[in-house]
Symmetry: C2
Subunit: 329 residues, 2 copies
């Protein structure tokens, strides 16, 4: 490839999740040209998963009529604590047997292209930063409430991954020191009051103790409460659902304010299925409560609180753009 | 000056406080060569205070037999929200009439040397980072509990001042969402449960409601409770003082953990009169509670929690070293 061609070469973005591997061929401008998906089958262990990632990348390239040498590089987002400089996954609690796995080196061996490894939430945030609402900013923080609450920090246009690859664990910032016990065994973490898990716990507890709710008819007792169901119940005026959504939004507003008061970014991006699916009941309260709690009121209006826009593509796009920022011109 | 001489030229460090102006002549290696002190008299307004700063700098230089042209530059730490790139103090609630004051330009005009302006807590942290326990680190965060709770962040060896100069307001990270009202009017901020103000409030309230304490005999009801008095009462086994110090330490431990879980530094430095004066009753609990709450337990031992060592010199030393990092070689 000539230097000029190389600058325009596409990248591969990989989003490694607990259940599936998403791969996309992404143009240097951030457009998805081709995509492929495989189950992770993480019970087979790291070697098998890494082989399957390489295979899925090859499938994607074949679909596009390309070869590995046609891409400038490969980016991959993985759960867990990552040493991105050395491409090592220190530990990934969601993937069985992942301890000190040299994911970067292993993929480079198989695909013969440079590989950039990052934590999944960092990578998705980098996607939202480069191609989503964060475009044009230099300092962005994110909050992704789901089963837990993930987060990431971008300063001066660069991901801040921490001294040990563990930055952005905003789910374990303490919000309510004497509050409920968290999934991590500690007390009052943001996850224990503002995650989807906390929301489901509060809804199920209230129903079990006799509170009326449309949810009782809409889903079975053990069924997960999907965002669409929550939105439908909220739209029909379900008092309990509205109350618990308001409480979740209040805590997410406080968490946003804590984040802003500590790191003073230009923008906070909130994402994930719960936020996107229940936007109209969550975002106004999150924005309102957060702004009220900004200590620097002079700049309160300058700090934007936005919703993530890339959806399930944030991981593959972010991984490709991160690879470009590290490898490319 | 030749280039070589310039690299070895000293700096002036200024610590502008609500009550006094501290000035030091500091060698390029961080040794205090001369010092001077004047009252701030901030009621006279910004112009008079700036003139007094310049005068105190000249006095310091005269004592050392030097002229302004003999120093490489001047650093100054000031309360409030600062635009350090432009040397402007946006707002300093502790100094009357300080709104959009071009402190850097005004001092440069008077002293004809380059001036670097920073927020006081940022500057003191920079001092502890370069000449105190942080020496050798690249990623440091600080917590200074006092009347409020200040903090600062250093990433990749550089102060992170935020997108609007307001980063590090760790006193207004929410720790106890349903906790006591903060001095800022909001609820459950770290300052409302872990500052010296919170500690004094809890002690006075308990005594007013009849709790026994040596403090009742040691000081008058309206007298401030100094760290030395607290330490003396603690040493004599005062149950109330020990209990309130333990509670303060517990909350400071949670705050340290929140900070570590979010930004993952190499070191957290705690400083200020309360921490230094009551170290033996605070630091063990702060360290223990913090470590228990680190979400990345694999790296828990790698994260050091240290006490500030520069005392009242942190401001002038940090200001001089910050000026050196910006201006010098």
């Amino acid at each position: 490839m000539s230097k000029k061609d190389k600058n325009k070469a596409p990248y591969i973005g990989v989003d490694l999740g607990g259940t599936k591997i998403l791969v996309a061929l992404v143009s240097h401008k951030g457009k998805i040209l081709e995509r492929e998906k495989q189950p992770t089958m993480d019970e087979e262990g790291p070697d098998a998963v890494i082989a399957r990632i390489a295979e899925t990348v090859q499938q994607t390239l074949r679909k596009a009529g390309l070869d590995a040498k046609d891409v400038a590089g490969i980016g991959i987002g993985t759960p867990g604590v990552v040493d991105s400089r050395r491409g090592i996954v220190h530990i990934a609690p969601n993937l069985s047997g992942w301890h000190e796995i040299p994911l970067g080196r292993e993929l480079e061996k198989r695909l013969e292209r440079p590989v950039v490894v990052g934590n999944d939430v960092n990578v998705a945030t980098y996607g939202e930063y480069t191609l989503g609402p964060g475009t044009g900013c230099k300092a962005v923080a994110s909050i992704f409430p789901g089963t837990g609450i993930g987060g990431a920090l971008i300063f001066d246009g660069k991901l801040w991954e921490g001294a040990h690859g563990a930055a952005g664990e905003i789910g374990h910032v303490i919000l309510e020191a004497n509050g409920p016990i968290c999934g991590c065994g500690r007390q009052g973490c943001a996850e224990a009051v503002a995650s989807r898990t906390a929301l489901e716990r509060d809804l199920r507890t209230a129903i079990r103790f006799g509170r009326q709710s449309l949810l009782s008819k809409m889903i079975a007792e053990t069924e997960p409460i999907r965002s669409g169901i929550l939105a439908q119940a909220a739209r029909e005026g379900d008092t309990l659902v509205l109350e618990v959504l308001a409480r979740t939004a209040h805590y997410l507003g406080l968490l946003t304010a804590s984040l802003v008061n500590l790191v003073d970014p230009e923008m906070v991006i909130l994402g994930g299925g719960l936020i996107v699916g229940c936007e109209e009941w969550l975002m106004p309260t999150i924005r309102g409560v957060a702004r009220e709690h900004f200590i620097d009121q002079a700049d309160a209006d300058a700090i934007r609180i936005e919703i993530a826009t890339l959806g399930d593509d944030a991981g593959v796009l972010g991984a490709a753009m991160l690879a470009k920022s590290v490898i490319g011109g």
